[in-house]
Amino acid sequence: MFKHRLLAAAAAVAGAVLAAAPGAADPLKVGFIYVGPIGDFGWTYEHDQGRLAVEAAHGDKVETTFVENVPEGGDSERVLTQMALSGHDLIFTTSFGYMDPTINVAAKFPDVKFEHATGYKRADNVSTYSARFYEGRAVIGHIAGKMTKTNTIGYIASYPIPEVIRGINAAYIHAKKVNPDVNFKIVWVFTWFDPAKEADAATTLIEQGADVIMQHTDSPAAMTIAEEKGVYAFGQASDMKQFGPNARLSSIIDDWAPYYVQRVADVLDGSWESIDTWHGIKEGMVEIGEFSDQIPADIQAEAQAISDAIVSGEYHTFTGPLNRQDGSPWLAEGETADDGTLLGMNFYVEGIEGSIPQ
């Protein structure tokens, strides 16, 4: 009796070990680690939509898992290690703060592939990917510049990091181009997600005369306020149409699905290698939401033209002549910004008032 049990236990252990090793017939195990809850309806929500797209596209060939609300730092390193140990073949780490933990864990598991969002450290089994959201901001900046009556555009910014500063510059350049009198009021809320504070920021900007609101934070609170106060706004991260049927002019949608589906396909057919991806409108990672009927047809056409030119490569969002805020020249006539400068952007372009908080 005792012997039998022992044998059974040994068999169970062996079975489990075998199950943990990726076999040919097993589905590819793809893990995701999220910094927020999947119900945030912003950043994490969009990544989870990408995960669902992977399941839809690859069906039985993949199995996806996720862990949400994982704090950056020590906890994320532990979660990543456990995922690697439990037989995941590919793991997407979807927040900037997971950068060092991803690199650490990847070094210990050379056979597991990692994809880190928005970071800049890579390894043989670590790719990085991010989206050129600023391309979308060029398009909506144009619309905002045309649509404002008060010539005041309110901008809710999260943290003073290059990505956010890039977005402000891109929007300002294109608003200014079509409306020389335009003025940006920028408030920094120092959070990615705090609906009440974002709502306060929107209210404040509207009271200060802004009649178009842009945001670089994740909740739809500002959209709701814009709807209530009868001003315009743009969806961020997801379309947000249901929060502002009249207020919403368009939106910048993060669409991670095409990239995730592709990268999983690469692992499945063995062609995956470590790359650095910075995709924009062209590849579909940045999507411009449907234009609202509030936008006159000619402006819609212009905005579409900008988007098309970016897609075809004829036009770059940051094309000279452009000066820095202090008036010193940045880009000469016809010159376009290089990715290095954009990635570390820490200055406003000429014309924006105020300074970047330190």
Binding site: G31, I38, Q82, S86, F190, G344
Partner: protein
């Protein structure tokens, strides 16, 4: 009719039995919740409590990780327990933890990239000092102005969090970090790195320190006069006054120790598992430690048990997420239930239930 009668002395039998009963009750209630969520309740419970310890693929890694996760909780809780025993209520450990990390991390980063043997102990000392001083503020205000230390220490948490945000974005921001908020990673700063002591386990000096702190506090309570004074003030403030206990000194001692331990936990975590001082560096250890202290009934060994149990549910909860696709919210609610059951059953150790027939008069 049911009647509660206080026991003259806390029951040892019940003290040992109630945690088991509470865990069992939580398993039942949790099973109902998991079933409602459409998961197999037995598998879910098994994953949370069993997988971190015995899963063939994960246990070898997860077992020492339970110690790593429990270490800051135990270290902070053990410091807080001294005050709680003496009726001195420090609930601001979260802030002291943050200030320890900021002070220690700031000290180490000020010398970047110095390579010197003394830097690591110096950093730990500064971390301890940061937490200590932050803990002494409510002590000073209580002794001098009779300001309620519960409220002052809680307010100081918010102040510390704002300060952390400010230095993570400004003073201590990594100059080579491409403009992102957050300090340099201490894991890549050789002389400040709190590296693992046994390769592959993640066990660092903070785990050892937590164990030492438990033994020290146990000895203090059992053998030292201060331990006696603490227990006496908790049980009977009047008797303590007659016995010549200096309340002011005791207040400074308890809040200071709590702060120093929390500060140490902060700097160990920063220079070890976490590495980087970012805006959300603190993840609530200071508050969870209060719960741990009470779950452990303020007894040093009880706290060790409670800390390990909490750490187990954290790690098991993560496993349940990626193995069973349980939402993290379900794990949070499950932990909440566990705490409720543990807290509610504690009374069995202090009271006995008597069934009495109603008497006619």
């Amino acid at each position: 009719m049911l009647r509660l009668e206080p026991r003259l002395e806390a029951s040892r039998t019940w003290a040992a039995l109630t945690p088991v009963m509470a865990v069992a009750a939580t398993m039942v209630a949790g099973a109902v919740m998991f079933a409602l969520l459409g998961k197999d309740p037995l598998v879910a419970i098994r994953t949370i409590f069993w997988a971190p310890l015995f899963d063939p693929a994960l246990a070898a890694y997860a077992r020492p990780q339970i110690l790593v996760k429990a270490a800051p909780l135990i270290l902070i809780a053990i410091g807080l327990s001294l005050g709680f025993r003496a009726n001195i209520w420090n609930i601001g450990a979260e802030g002291q933890y943050v200030m320890g990390a900021v002070a220690g991390g700031g000290a180490a980063l000020a010398f970047y990239p110095l390579d010197a043997w003394w830097l690591f102990p110096f950093m730990l000392f500064c971390g301890l000092l940061g937490g200590l001083l932050w803990g002494l503020i409510p002590a000073f205000l209580k002794v001098t102005f009779r300001a309620n230390e519960i409220l002052v220490s809680l307010m100081l948490v918010y102040v510390a969090e704002q300060y952390l945000a400010s230095v993570a974005l400004g003073l201590l921001r990594n100059p080579d970090g491409a403009g992102f908020p957050g300090s340099r990673n201490l894991q890549t700063y050789e002389s400040a790195h709190n590296a693992e002591l046994i390769a592959g386990t993640g066990i660092h000096l903070g785990v050892v320190t937590a164990a030492l702190a438990v033994v020290m506090v146990y000895a203090l309570l059992r053998m030292h006069r201060t331990g006696f004074e603490i227990k006496l003030s908790g049980q009977s403030p009047r008797a303590a006054r007659f016995a010549g206990v200096n309340q002011a000194v005791l207040t400074y001692f308890c809040l200071g120790t709590g702060g120093a331990f929390a500060g140490l936990a902060g700097i160990f975590e920063l220079s070890g598992p976490s590495g980087q001082l970012s805006i959300d560096f603190n993840v609530g250890y200071g508050f969870t430690a209060i719960i741990v202290a009470f779950l452990g009934r303020l007894h040093p060994f009880g706290i060790v048990f409670a800390g390990l149990l909490m750490a187990l549910t954290y790690i098991g909860g993560e496993m349940a997420q990626f193995m069973l696709n349980l939402p993290s919210a379900a794990i949070q609610a499950f932990q909440g239930m566990l705490l409720f059951f543990l807290l509610s059953m504690e009374f069995l150790t202090r009271y006995r239930i008597r069934i009495r027939r109603l008497e006619r008069n």
